[in-house]
């Protein structure tokens, strides 16, 4: 297979992923609103720092809203398959909030967009 053909097939793959991402993001309740994004950022930054938050802990973040609001948004993030609850390694009774691959892909695409904009 020639270099040009390989490059063209690679472009086709990228076009396909761009298309599937756009299709998945079509309207219908799957939009990541600024409120949800703020909560997701807090959850992911704690997870990235090595101290993932529990449900109880995140509900105490008053700057993000009341505990009921935070709980509702957390439920929404779980429905959108952006976070999941895992048992803590040291205490099986405690459940920690960790980002899914989809959330990590989302932040990767954000980082790429920022890099492209600054280039």
């Amino acid at each position: 297979m020639s270099k040009d053909t390989k490059s063209e097939l690679l472009s086709l793959y990228f076009r396909f992923t761009a298309l599937t991402d756009s299709l998945k993001g079509l309207y219908g309740g799957a939009e990541l609103t600024p409120d949800l994004e703020a909560l997701l950022q807090v959850l992911c930054s704690h997870w990235h720092a090595g101290s993932p938050l529990s449900v109880r802990q995140v509900m105490q973040f008053e700057r993000l809203g009341s505990s009921a609001t935070i709980f509702k948004r957390l439920k929404r993030l779980r429905q959108m398959d952006l976070v999941m609850l895992l048992e803590a390694p040291d205490d099986p009774r405690k459940r920690q909030i960790v980002p899914t691959t989809r959330a990590l892909d989302y932040f990767s695409s954000q980082a790429l967009a920022i890099r492209a904009a600054s280039a």
């Binding site: 040009d4 053909t5 063209e8 097939l9 472009s11 086709l12 990228f14 076009r15 396909f16 761009a18 298309l19 599937t20 756009s22 299709l23 998945k24 993001g25 079509l26 309207y27 219908g28 799957a30 398959d81 899914t100 989809r102 492209a116």
Partner: protein
């Protein structure tokens, strides 16, 4: 001493850049165009309001997706498939038979060039594509397609109530394409959920 240099014409140099992969894209697009037209006619035959006008026409969505994936070779493949079906739709209308396939194939491509701001060259990886531009692209492509077909119908004296035909074609293209896009969205999300549950199991 004057030297005479013979250079290859620009059109032939452009032909040199055509690779077998582009021909494959054309064939795939032609098969998709032909297959989707046949299936749509078979499933939604009761929604046909006039010859060549269907109130649910999801092949328009297939055309948009094909052009997004395969670019100009995809548009040419769709035009080719249009030539295979147009004689059966416009049997005694020579101008409609010859020109309508170009409108069907090139309308989504023109919409892609406008919406994704591809003024100089095609963006190789659809960097500007997002859900909003996808919906805009489908809408503009439907407008180009319905408008182009209606102009052809007026010019060739085919059909009677042209404004009604334009509206029916526009509605059919939009409804069909949006049905297809949202159907694909549901399929992709279901696939993601299945993968996610399989990973967790």
């Amino acid at each position: 001493m004057m030297t005479l240099t013979i250079t290859m014409p620009r059109t032939l140099r452009a032909l040199q850049q055509i690779r077998w992969i582009h021909l494959a894209y054309m064939v795939i697009a032609a098969v998709l165009g032909l297959g989707s037209w046949w299936i749509n006619g078979w499933v939604f035959q009761n929604f046909e309001v006039s010859s060549g006008i269907n109130l649910i026409y999801w092949p328009h969505g297939i055309r948009v997706l094909t052009v997004l994936l395969f670019g100009l070779p995809g548009a040419l493949g769709l035009t080719l498939s249009g030539f295979l079906v147009s004689p059966s739709i416009y049997s005694d209308q020579i101008w409609m038979t010859v020109l309508a396939p170009f409108v069907s194939g090139l309308a989504p491509y023109a919409a892609r060039r406008v919406i994704l701001l591809e003024r100089t060259s095609e963006s190789p990886n659809l960097e500007r594509l997002n859900p909003k531009t996808l919906i805009s692209l489908v809408t503009l492509s439907a407008l180009f397609n319905a408008g182009g077909h209606t102009l052809l119908r007026i010019a060739s004296g085919f059909g009677e109530n042209h404004p009604a035909e334009f509206c029916a074609m526009l509605a059919g293209d939009l409804l069909g394409a949006l049905t297809l896009l949202f159907g694909l969205k549901l399929l992709l999300l279901t696939w993601d959920k299945l993968l996610h549950s399989a990973r967790q199991a």
